[in-house]
Structures are given as structure tokens and as C-alpha cells.
């Protein structure tokens, strides 16, 4: 009997503890003024080193806790889940351009970061894309992805092409047809392919047109837009002889760098670290200050301040500091992520940056030039990401898997897009 009483008491205590635990996770909001810590969530590598964040602590006394997600996709899932739940996001959250438009639909859940002092900080198209229909600036630009052409000078030499980066730039300068025809000349004299992946080339071409997959009012026009279908056909035609038939980011693609599978690739600033990481032993990579069909941007990110946070004012100041030219310059030196801050483009600190792995190429100068060549910001609406995903799958089926021909794969693409609605 005494046992039973004890058991009962224990059970009740247990249940009460459990209930307390379950309901006890909400903590009191921090009182107004300066918070003790701010949280920062990024992905891949933004170049925000511990030393840089410690500088901010020295300046303001606010401790910064950075949480890095492995990939942009992980960050996206986390962001959307917690934005919906209404809690759990960091004070400052990084966003990638590809899913930024999707997030833009919920701009009322993000803090307004407008600040007249910062009006001229970013390249125009970068700031425009971060302004919602009500005119609120909801994100501060970090980096952009102006593209150049990276090439293997050793493979070029073996195939009898020039190797000097100015001569290569002169050779490739022109439209995409010229880039492909130089490629035909290369593959005739080499075992390597001309470019890594048809999917990458396709997005390079599409990023040069203002309206591709969606019209500016948000309607999906990918299946009827002649620009898309022409690009699709051209890339697959050229790809049959020029492509290394690799799918970007696959294990085979990564191995392709070390195996000399291809001689050129489209190269935004952030790609330099990827190339170096995939083929640390290879010598011969270089960068030509040129891009087929004019300039082109690929990728880039923003920092946002979710309105659900308790310290949005302090977070706004912190995001402002992080995206200031001084900090983004340091990030460029660390990672190669090219800054979106215009005042840096004429600064000697940026123009003098070189990269030893790429035969000491003046990356600061090259990407600064490539950035001014970018004149078109393609419209990316809420459906951009899923439609682009379907289009890339269509290319992969023909170029990499080789399980379908171009027209059958296009038909499947149309079906996929209709399912997206």
C-alpha cells in the first residue's frame, strides 16, 4: 500500500514536471535597449569570420552567434518553416537570390530596413530586387555573381589555342554562337569537353534576358516563351559535342575538375572557391575577363531581419554593419564572394586583389569589370525556382542521363510546368 502511494505521488510529480516542461519554453522578451547577443544565420560561406564578428562585439558590446547551414536549400527549408511558425528564426537571416522572390510574397513578415543613408550603397538592380511593392527595402545585399569565363590554360595549349588571359578573352568575346564555335575548334584537337554542363550554360543565357520563365506580372510563360525554347535547343545542339555531360554539383562533376573533363566553365566570383576546392592539385586554371552575349549575373545573397525577432532594431544596425563596404571587402578576400557595394568598384583595395591559384589573376579587376557589364536583371517571381528546376531536369535528361531526346524531354517539361500551375 505504501508502495502504491509512493508510485502515485511519483506519477503525479512526473506528470506535473512534464506539463511544466512542455509549457515552459517561452522565455520573457528582452527589455528595450541593447540586447546581449544577436543571432546570425548564413549558409555555405559568407566570409563572416569569427574575427570579423568579434570586431562588432568590440564596437557595440553585442555578442554575435553565427549559425551556418550547409547549403542554401537547407537554409531555405529552415527559413520558410520557421517564418510560417512565427518563431525560431535568427535575428539576421541570410537569403539566396533564387528563393528570394518566393520570400518576397511574405514581405510583411520581414522588418522594413529602408534607410535613406544607404540609398547608394548597392548596385541598382540589387537594391531594386529587394524592394517590395509597397516600396519597403526588406533586405541588404551582400554579394553578387557577375560571371567571367574560367578556363584551363594547359588544355588550351595542348589543343593549340592561346593561353594568355587577354588573348583568350579576345577569342571568346562575342555572342554565344561564337563561344560554341571556338569550342568546336577546341574539341576537334582535345579529349576534353568544352564546358562542364549544359544546364549551367542554359542558365547563363537565360540570366541575360529580362523576361524568361515568368512575365513581369508573375504569369509562368516558360513553355511558350520563344527565348526559352531557342536557348534550350541551342544549348542541347551545342552540348551534344561540347558538353562533358555532367550535372552541376554531382559527385561526377566534382571529380571532373580533377580529371580534366572540361576546359571552360561559366564563373561567377563565388565559383572560384568551388573550383579550387574540387581540384587543389590541378594547375592551369585561369580567368578570362569576358562573357558571351554581354554581362551576366548568377546568384548572390541578401541579409534580412525577420519581424518576428525581439531585437529588430539592433539586428537592423548589425545587418547594416555587415553589408558595409569594409566588411564585404574582407569577405571577398576570404571567399571570393564579389561585393554588391558600388563604392568598392573603384577602390584600390578591391582592384588589387589577385588569386594565386588562378595564375595570379587580378580577380578584383576582372569581376569589377564583369559587374559593370551586367545590364539586365532577369525577373524572378514566386514560381521561378520550381520552373527553373523543371527546366534543368529537362536538360539533364538529355545531356547527362541521355534517357530522352530533346523534344520528348521538352514535352515532359511542359507537363511538369503545368503541374506547378
Amino acid at each position: 500500500m505504501s508502495t502504491s502511494r509512493r508510485t502515485l505521488a511519483a506519477a503525479i510529480t512526473g506528470a506535473v514536471t512534464f506539463a511544466l516542461l512542455a509549457s515552459g519554453c517561452s522565455s520573457a522578451p528582452a527589455p528595450g535597449g541593447t540586447p546581449e547577443t544577436l543571432t546570425l544565420a548564413t549558409f555555405n560561406d559568407f566570409g563572416y569570420t569569427d574575427a570579423m564578428l568579434a570586431e562588432y562585439t568590440d564596437l557595440t558590446g553585442i555578442k554575435i552567434v553565427q549559425n551556418k547551414a550547409a547549403t542554401s536549400n537547407d537554409a531555405r527549408t529552415n527559413y520558410f518553416t520557421k517564418l510560417g511558425a512565427g518563431s525560431g528564426l535568427a535575428d539576421v537571416e541570410a537569403v539566396e537570390i533564387d528563393w528570394f522572390a518566393e520570400l518576397m510574397q511574405y514581405s510583411d513578415k520581414l522588418a522594413d530596413l529602408s534607410n535613406p543613408d544607404l540609398a547608394d550603397r548597392w548596385v541598382q538592380w540589387k537594391a531594386d530586387a529587394a524592394t517590395d511593392p509597397d516600396g519597403r527595402l526588406i533586405a541588404y545585399g551582400t554579394d553578387i555573381g557577375p560571371q567571367a569565363i574560367c578556363y584551363r590554360s594547359d588544355l588550351f595549349a595542348a589543343a593549340g589555342l592561346p593561353t594568355d588571359r587577354a588573348e583568350v578573352a579576345a577569342l571568346i568575346d562575342g555572342d554565344w554562337a561564337n563561344y560554341f564555335s571556338v569550342g568546336e575548334g577546341f574539341v576537334a584537337n582535345s579529349d576534353a569537353a568544352w564546358f562542364d554542363s549544359s544546364g549551367a550554360i542554359l542558365q547563363g543565357i537565360l540570366n541575360q534576358d529580362p523576361e524568361t520563365l515568368e512575365s513581369t506580372d508573375g504569369t509562368v510563360i516558360a513553355t511558350t516563351n520563344p527565348v526559352v525554347e531557342t536557348a534550350y535547343t541551342d544549348v542541347l545542339d551545342a552540348g551534344s559535342t561540347l558538353s562533358a555531360h555532367l550535372s552541376q554539383w554531382s559527385d561526377d562533376w566534382a571529380a571532373g575538375f580533377a580529371n580534366g573533363a572540361f576546359a571552360t566553365m561559366l564563373c561567377p566570383g563565388w565559383m572560384l572557391g568551388v573550383i579550387e576546392g574540387n581540384a587543389p592539385e590541378v594547375t592551369g586554371w585561369d580567368i578570362a575577363n569576358v562573357f558571351p552575349g554581354g554581362g551576366g549575373n548568377w546568384g548572390g545573397s541578401y541579409l534580412t531581419v525577420p519581424a518576428q525577432g525581439k531585437n529588430t532594431e539592433a539586428a537592423k544596425k548589425f545587418a547594416d554593419w555587415l553589408t558595409a563596404p569594409e566588411q564585404q571587402l574582407k569577405a571577398f578576400v576570404t571567399t571570393g564572394n564579389f561585393p554588391s557595394q558600388t563604392s568598392l568598384y573603384n577602390a584600390d583595395e578591391l582592384l588589387s586583389v589577385t588569386r594565386p591559384y588562378f595564375n595570379d589573376a587580378p580577380t578584383g579587376q576582372i569581376f569589377s569589370d564583369r559587374s559593370s557589364a551586367v545590364t539586365v536583371a532577369p525577373f524572378k517571381g514566386a514560381k521561378y525556382f520550381p520552373v527553373m528546376d523543371a527546366l534543368q531536369n529537362a536538360i539533364t535528361r538529355v545531356d547527362v542521363d541521355q534517357t530522352e531526346d530533346a523534344s520528348a524531354s521538352w514535352t515532359d517539361f511542359v507537363t511538369d510546368v503545368n503541374a506547378i500551375g
Binding site: M1, T3, S4, R5, T7, L8, A11, G14, F18, N73, R76, T77, F80, T81, L83, G84, W99, Q105, Y106, K109, H245, L246, S247, W249, S250, D251, D252, A255, G256, N259, A261, K383, F385, P386, D389, A390, Q392, N393, A394, T396, R397, V400, D401, Q402, T403, E404, D412, T415, A419, I420
Partner: protein, 322 residues
């Protein structure tokens, strides 16, 4: 007299209270002891299950939240999607390619481990090592080995003069590759469960069988397998549930995690994830919830079929043994 009866009555009442509590103790305590499991199950199993059913009849978005009531509209939408059926096909194909060889292999390994081996514990622990490795790590290593152009396996095939296999681009090879990862991880685990059951089989049976002149194989088929009936049912049902819910391995099989360009290895759990959280699904929780419930029903049906099948096989086996 009256005083005496009062005292007596009080004593009786006290006994009665004690008696009642005692009765409660006997009747309720067992339930109280097992209740933590059920309380936890209700919180983490039953509640999500019912809530998913609730979500599945609404237009529900990851950020926008609950929308209009749509009845069975989400179920109709899911069932009309070609990708859903492809993912169902893939799940079943990967499940069969993994569960069947796995159970057979595990039985054989367990039978070998059941023999008089030197350093028994070493061998028994050895088969469990793959189980300890995180599935994501297994998937990363295997997807590298199964690379189409530069993978180890195609490299070896090339050495012996065979054509490379499209481990990622083709449907059946990609299922084989994923099933290999699953088998790598689970065969040892199941073998240990079988081993535990085998050691409970009375040794007299084997002695008697040996006296009757039955060989090792005959003993295995006529004594060991029928004696394992409850364990077989357990292993087959758990591997069915696990097999139809397979997620980690196919998701990590390439960097995009969306099941391949023509959905070659898109499984049904990946389909659910993509609908709810994936970049391509658009955060449609209603669709995801409906697909999750369809999967739940399918698993129940397959589980029942399995149960019936294993019962018949195992009981007919034991009849022939007796």
C-alpha cells in the same frame, strides 16, 4: 455495546479504505507503469497523425497557414499527379530490392553465427558495425562509389571489360544502388535479431534431427526457420514499414536531393517532403499531408498482407516439421 460497535465500525471502515486503495493498486498500477509510453506516443505519434489528417482536408500553406476547407480535394490532386505514382513505383521497387535479399541474407548470417565460432562476440558485434554508421554518411560514400562517370564501381566494371552502368541515370540501377545502401545498414541488425531467436530453439530438436540423419540444410529449413516464426513476422513487418518510408538514402543519393531528373529514384517520402518543404513543391502542406495519409494506408494494407503471408508460410513450415 454501542461504544464497542462504533470502534468496530471505524476499524472496518479503515480496513475498507485500505482495501479499496489496494484494489486500485492492483487494477490501476500496471496501466500507470506502461502509461509513459502511451503518453509519449499520444504526443509524438497519435497527435501528429490526427493533425495531419486535419491538415489534409484544407488548403494549407507553409507560411500562409490554414486556408479554405477543400474536403478530399488534396487527395484527388495527389492521386492525379504522375510523379506520385512514379514515386510509389520507386518505393515499392526499392523496398522489394532491399527487404527480400536482406531477410534471406540475415537468416544465413545468423545461422552461421549460431555455429560454434571462435571469438563469437567479435563476429556478432562485427555485423552490427554498419548499423552504427550514420545513414547520411553511408549514402555519401555509396553515391560516390556509384558515380556514373568516375565512380569506383563503374571503374572496376571497366577494368574487367564491361560497359559502365548508369547508376544515377537509369531507373533500375539507381534502385539497386539505393537498395545496396539499405542492405548494408540493416542486414547485420536483422541477423542479430534472428540470432537471438535461434539461440532460443531447444537443442534437442537438432540432436533428434541429426539422429534421424538430417543434414545441416535440412535442419535449417525444417527446424530453425519454422521456430523463428514470430521473429520473422516482426522483422518482415518492421522492414516493410522502414522500406516504404525510405528517405535518407535516396535523398542523399545526389546533391539536389529531388530524386533525379526523371524522378528515377524519387520515393514517396521524398515526394511528401518535396511537396511540403522542398523548393519545387511550393510549401503545399495540404498536398503533403494527403500524400502522407495515403502512404499510411498503403503501409497498413501491405503490413496486413505480409502478416497473412508470413503466417501461412511459417505455419505450413512448422506443420511439415512436426
Amino acid at each position: 455495546m454501542s461504544t464497542l460497535s462504533l470502534v468496530e465500525e471505524r476499524a472496518v471502515r479503515r480496513i475498507a479504505i485500505g482495501h479499496t486503495l489496494n484494489r486500485w493498486d492492483v487494477k490501476l498500477s500496471p496501466y500507470l507503469y506502461v502509461s509513459p509510453f502511451f503518453v509519449l506516443f499520444a504526443l509524438t505519434g497519435l497527435f501528429p497523425l490526427l493533425y495531419t489528417a486535419y491538415v489534409s482536408v484544407f488548403d494549407w500553406h507553409i507560411i500562409g497557414g490554414q486556408g479554405d476547407f477543400v474536403g478530399l480535394g488534396n487527395f484527388e490532386w495527389v492521386l492525379a499527379q504522375e510523379k506520385f505514382w512514379i514515386s510509389l513505383r520507386n518505393s515499392f521497387s526499392i523496398f522489394l530490392l532491399s527487404a527480400v535479399p536482406q531477410v534471406i541474407l540475415a537468416l544465413i548470417i545468423a545461422a552461421v553465427l549460431d555455429q560454434n565460432l571462435r571469438s563469437k562476440t567479435f563476429w556478432r558485434m562485427g555485423v552490427l558495425v554498419p548499423y552504427v554508421v550514420a545513414p547520411v554518411a553511408v549514402a555519401l560514400i555509396f553515391s560516390n562509389m556509384f558515380g556514373d562517370q568516375y565512380g569506383l564501381i563503374n571503374n572496376l566494371l571497366g577494368r574487367i571489360g564491361l560497359d559502365p552502368v548508369g547508376w544515377h541515370s537509369q531507373v533500375v540501377p539507381s534502385h539497386l544502388a539505393i537498395a545496396t545502401m539499405v542492405n548494408f545498414r540493416w542486414t547485420g541488425y536483422n541477423a542479430l535479431i534472428f540470432l537471438a531467436a535461434m539461440q532460443a530453439v531447444p537443442r534437442d530438436y537438432y540432436e533428434a534431427a541429426m539422429l534421424d540423419g538430417a543434414g545441416r540444410v535440412r535442419q535449417f529449413l525444417s527446424i530453425t526457420v519454422p521456430s523463428l516464426r514470430p521473429t520473422l513476422i516482426f522483422v518482415i513487418i518492421t522492414s516493410t514499414i522502414g522500406g516504404l518510408q525510405i528517405f535518407d538514402e535516396p535523398r542523399m543519393y545526389d546533391s539536389a536531393g529531388t530524386g533525379g531528373a526523371s524522378s528515377q529514384w524519387l520515393t514517396i517520402t521524398m515526394y511528401i517532403y518535396n511537396q511540403g518543404f522542398g523548393p519545387a513543391g511550393g510549401g503545399q502542406f495540404g498536398h503533403a499531408a494527403a500524400a502522407a495519409w495515403i502512404l499510411f494506408l498503403i503501409i497498413i494494407v501491405v503490413g496486413l498482407i505480409n502478416l497473412a503471408a508470413t503466417r501461412t508460410i511459417a505455419s505450413s513450415g512448422s506443420r511439415s516439421a512436426s
